[in-house]
């Protein structure tokens, strides 16, 4: 504590004034009239206690007022030393990072977090600038750097925990950029979070500016218990020409003790089943739920488990709707049954179901093409003329073709339509019988057709042998890394480097050309286990099939387009209404619940619904040590602290602190109260 004008402390001598008032004036006021002091004056009295201060409170109030007045004129200030001075008094750039992931909804965590943020805002100095960042998997600047406390508090009041998961990196990068752009001497970030380990990935690329201080506010609970519905498995079956879906709910217990929770199953808002399920500590269990038989309409389904402190992951929403089937027309040459294996493979699929029709020798008619999604030209080529052109036009308008070039597709027979599909004429037949057959030497696992087999031992293509094959022409093949939508994509090569499979876009449609047979005539692939999924993948790819999502995860971007040029609105689970731009039908679904896509007109019907669930990785409430995070994010400045270089003169400190002003205000209040108290004391009945 220092004084800028200590000479004014001489004014403390004025303390004698209230002392005299209380010792002298009191006697004048309180004298008791007595007939004669004739006898009293003859009595020797003890001297002690002859003077006593009464009204101690009034006396103390008057003395305090004088002391504070003298102190105010002496212009005091708090001298914190040259190093700590600027830390405490200099202007500060403060970024409040408030975790709004759904795990903050656990118990009263959110209330505690808001209270901590409010405390940080209310503790800001007159020259501080504070910004408020709300983050979950993404970070949003809820309030730009400002010195306006009220606006910050309003922004804080508007904040609510969301459905996202904790990711610290975006928030820390936003804090990094905000603090880095500040010219204020002190930099500070307050991270208010439950510090879930699941959200901490080392904050790759995020580091606060040198000298910036990161202050963690740990919002946590002891003995955390949480049971979550992690996902739901849908098992489809057709019964009486209707689709029946059996659901299996998977529960995970994140606590250290076994629990027995009630699981309820709601369909279209009505509870149809309630069962009890035991879940071992730190384990999982599955609950088989009542099957739902669908008609043509999609229904909402929700699985609920327990009522623990974290409610968001106790719910799991699913849209149950009939899986769209794919209509496949197989065209094969006369003679042997070249499509036996293919037909059998496709007929075994339930999701999606394939409706397979086989036609021999003749190309499909226009009517047949109209009700077909994929045409498989199994060792047969489209002829020249109308049939060929019709097929090509159909492909360009969005149709899909799988062309298998076997022994019946001699080079000489390649028509113009066939060349349009294959971008050329396949080369001669390569006979590899003598060396035991060729193998597939390259598979593009990044392509949707082979993505399914990316995992180790997911697809045993090594056992497949190709005794004969016809290398597929690929003059328009895209180079590696070319992401343009034109040109062919080589999906597989034989071990001699020749192309085994290529995908080629044609207009709005797509063609997949395969350089061997689809039965066991040239290859044993049809006898291998991978044949069935490979055929499913190839046909689905040719059809451009995208499975309907039964649910999405909060934060995912979903294309909500239903039909072209139909204006849409979306009703969110929170009750908000979003107008959708026709040109951009991608929507980020951030809320847990059901999104409703409707026509943007009065009385418009519901076109589609999307179920959105929280990411269950957030339900793991294991925490990371904040010190570990601080160590990774902060670095000391060249002199220990960045703001240490700023030193303020005593006069500047006094000016910034302005303690004299507060002292004068207190003096004013005391002096205002003094006459009230004094009058109240003096209006008491005078003793006689």
């Amino acid at each position: 504590m220092g004084l800028l004008a200590p000479a004014f402390l001489v004014g403390l001598a004025a303390l004698a004034v209230p002392l005299l008032i209380h010792l002298i004036r009191r006697e004048r006021h309180d004298a008791i009239e007595f007939p004669s002091l004739m006898f009293l004056s003859r009595i020797q009295q003890p001297i002690v206690k002859r003077r006593r201060i009464r009204n101690w409170w009034l006396f103390a109030l008057r003395c305090l007022a004088l002391i504070l007045l003298a102190g105010a004129f002496a212009r005091p200030f708090v001298d914190r030393g040259p190093n700590a001075l600027a830390q405490i008094d200099a202007a500060r750039e403060l970024v409040i990072l408030l975790d709004r992931s759904y795990s903050m909804g656990y118990g009263d965590r959110w209330d505690r977090a808001v209270a901590a943020a409010r405390e940080a805002i209310e503790g800001m100095g007159p020259e501080d600038r504070v910004s408020l960042v709300l983050f979950d998997h993404a970070a949003r600047m809820a309030m730009q750097p400002t010195a306006d406390r009220m606006r910050l508090l309003e922004a804080l009041d508007d904040a609510r925990p969301g459905s996202g998961v904790t990711r610290y990196t975006p928030a820390l990068k936003l804090a990094q950029s905000t603090l880095g752009a500040s010219e204020l001497p002190r930099l500070e970030a307050v991270l208010i979070s439950d510090f879930q380990r699941a959200g901490w990935d080392g904050a790759t690329g995020a580091q606060l500016p040198a000298g910036a201080e990161l202050r963690p506010v740990h919002i946590t609970d002891a003995n955390v218990a949480n049971v979550a519905v992690t996902h739901v498995t849908l098992n489809r079956a057709r019964v009486s020409n209707r689709e029946r879906i059996a659901l299996v709910a998977h529960l995970a217990n994140r606590g250290s003790s076994a629990v027995n929770v009630g699981v309820s199953f709601d369909v279209d808002g009505r509870t149809v089943q309630t069962v009890q399920a035991g879940v071992p500590p730190n384990g999982t269990s599955a609950v088989e739920l009542q099957p739902v038989t669908l008609d043509d309409r999609a229904v909402r389904a929700t699985v609920r488990s327990g009522d623990d402190a974290l409610a968001a992951d106790n719910l799991f929403h699913v849209m149950l709707e009939p899986a769209p089937g794919l209509r496949v027309l197989i065209v094969e040459p006369p003679g042997r049954d070249a499509s036996l294996y293919l037909r059998r493979a496709l007929e075994l699929s339930e999701d999606p179901p394939f409706a397979v029709t086989t036609k021999r020798s003749a190309m499909p008619t226009a009517a047949e093409l109209e009700r077909t999604d994929v045409v498989v030209l199994n060792d047969i080529l489209p002829p020249d003329g109308d049939a060929g052109r019709r097929l090509v036009d159909w492909i360009r308008s969005g149709g899909g073709v799988v062309l298998a070039a076997g022994d019946r597709t001699a080079t000489a027979s390649w028509s113009e339509a066939a060349r349009a599909i294959a971008a050329g004429t396949p080369d001669r037949v390569v006979d590899r019988v003598e060396d035991g057959g060729a193998r597939l030497g390259f598979l593009d696992y990044s392509h949707p057709v082979f993505e399914l087999f990316r995992a180790p031992r997911a697809g045993a293509f090594g056992a497949a042998r190709f005794y004969r094959y016809r290398p597929v022409p690929a003059p328009d093949a895209r180079a590696a890394g070319d992401t343009s939508s034109t040109g062919a994509t080589i999906l597989a090569r034989f071990d001699d480097g020749s192309v085994a499979m290529v995908e080629r876009p044609l207009g709005d449609g797509r063609a997949v050309v395969w350089g061997s047979t689809l039965d066991s005539y040239w290859t044993n692939l049809a006898l291998e286990p991978v044949y069935l999924p490979l055929m499913h993948q190839v046909v689905k790819r040719a059809a451009g099939f995208t499975p309907a999502r039964a649910w999405s995860t909060a934060g995912q971007i979903v294309d909500i387009a239903v039909a072209e040029d139909v204006p849409l609105v979306v009703n969110t689970p929170g009750g908000d209404r979003i107008d959708v731009d026709i040109a951009n039908t991608l929507l980020t679904m951030n809320e847990q619940g059901f999104y409703e896509v409707r026509e943007a007109r009065a009385g418009g019907s519901t076109l589609r619904e999307h179920a959105v669930n929280v990411d269950v990785s957030e339900s793991d409430l294991t925490v990371v040590d904040p010190l570990e995070m601080m160590a990774a994010l902060t670095t000391a400045g060249p002199d220990g602290r960045r703001s240490a270089a700023v030193a303020l003169a005593p006069s500047e400190q006094e000016k910034r602190q302005a303690l004299w002003w507060y002292l004068l205000m207190i003096v004013f209040v005391l002096l205002a109260a003094e006459p009230v108290i004094a009058n109240r004391r003096s209006t008491r009945p005078a003793p006689r």
Binding site: I32, E33, L40
Partner: protein, 320 residues
């Protein structure tokens, strides 16, 4: 010291309470109320009659009123004899009322001055009923009012009593000296005062009247608080100094009531005893009253003293 409190009031007169009387504005009415109530309680006429009771004959001396010669006895004896009666029915009765500032002191009830006024009025009224000539002298450091004794001055006396104010310091010695000069004719003199003087000075002052042949009765009026200092400090704490201010001089001094009470009480009792002793030595009747004492006590004391004085005078062959 025993106060008149211990004297049993005359039955039926207990209602003559000073606090009650203070509600009566009219002083004559007040005096009549006191006296009549007192007399009714006596069950006998307290008046000494017309003082015509024959006592004895004595020889006529030149200068005697020839109207008092017993002509029948002259006829039988051919000598002049004058009739002597039991008492003089037209004596002077004068109240000397102290109106010094100290008399204004009020403890818990009425002030000493008010009590003294009631007492003076009652005594004057009572004496007038006995056909005495009543007069009044009020004094502080000197004579304030003087109403010569007269059979017709009761109204003036009561009016004067009614308007007295205690405004100045008092001096008993000087005042009574002047009073003695004013009262040339002997009579009954009642001094009503708080006697804040040394006992010797009180004796000296009252003695001047006694030496001039007056029968003197001293009514010492004090407030209960003055006697024992109980409650003198009001609401102030007893163990801390409280400033006491002398009503007459304005002098102040801090007093720790609890510390001085015992000593003060002793001094006051000594003072009262000394005054009583000194006055008794001068054959002056002395009675002490505090302001809560019923006025009938005072009248009773007065009556007793008067009777005593009358008989004494008669035994002494007094008369004029």
């Amino acid at each position: 010291m025993r106060l008149r409190h211990s004297v049993q009031p005359i039955p039926g007169t207990g209602f003559i309470d000073p606090q009650t009387l203070s509600r009566i504005d009219n002083l004559e009415l007040l005096a009549r109320t006191v006296v009549d109530g007192f007399i009714n309680g006596l069950h006998r006429a307290p008046y000494l009659g017309m003082s015509l009771d024959f006592a004895e004959h004595r020889a006529y001396y030149p200068g005697d009123d020839i109207r008092r010669i017993d002509w029948r006895l002259y006829a039988r004896t051919d000598r002049y004899y004058v009739k002597e009666f039991e008492a003089d029915t037209n004596s002077n009765f004068t109240v000397l009322l102290d109106v010094s500032k100290s008399m204004a002191y009020r403890g818990s009830g009425i002030s000493k001055l008010e009590y003294a006024k009631y007492l003076a009025a009652s005594l004057s009224y009572f004496s007038r009923e006995q056909r005495d000539r009543v007069g009044l002298i009020t004094f502080d450091s000197g004579i304030v009012d003087y109403v010569p004794p007269s059979a017709k001055h009761l109204d003036i006396v009561l009016h004067t009593i009614d308007r007295v104010r205690a405004e100045r310091a008092g001096s008993l010695d000087a005042s009574l000296r002047k009073a003695a000069e004013l009262l040339r004719r002997r009579g009954l003199v009642v001094i009503i005062s708080d006697l804040y003087e040394e006992p010797e000075r009180v004796q000296s002052a009252a003695g001047m009247l006694r030496h001039r042949g007056h029968d003197v009765i001293v009514f010492h009026v004090l407030d209960r608080t003055e006697i024992d200092l109980e409650g003198a400090a009001g609401s102030a704490s007893l163990d801390e100094a409280t400033s006491f201010e002398d009503l007459e001089t304005g002098e102040r001094m801090p007093v720790i009531t609890q510390a001085v009470r015992e000593r003060y009480n002793a001094l006051m009792q000594e003072h009262i005893a000394a005054v009583r002793r000194k006055l008794t030595e001068m054959r002056i009747d002395y009675e002490l009253f505090d302001t809560s004492t019923p006025l009938d006590d005072a009248l009773f004391a007065y009556l007793a003293a008067r009777e005593r004085l009358t008989r004494g005078t008669a035994r002494a062959g007094g008369g004029r």
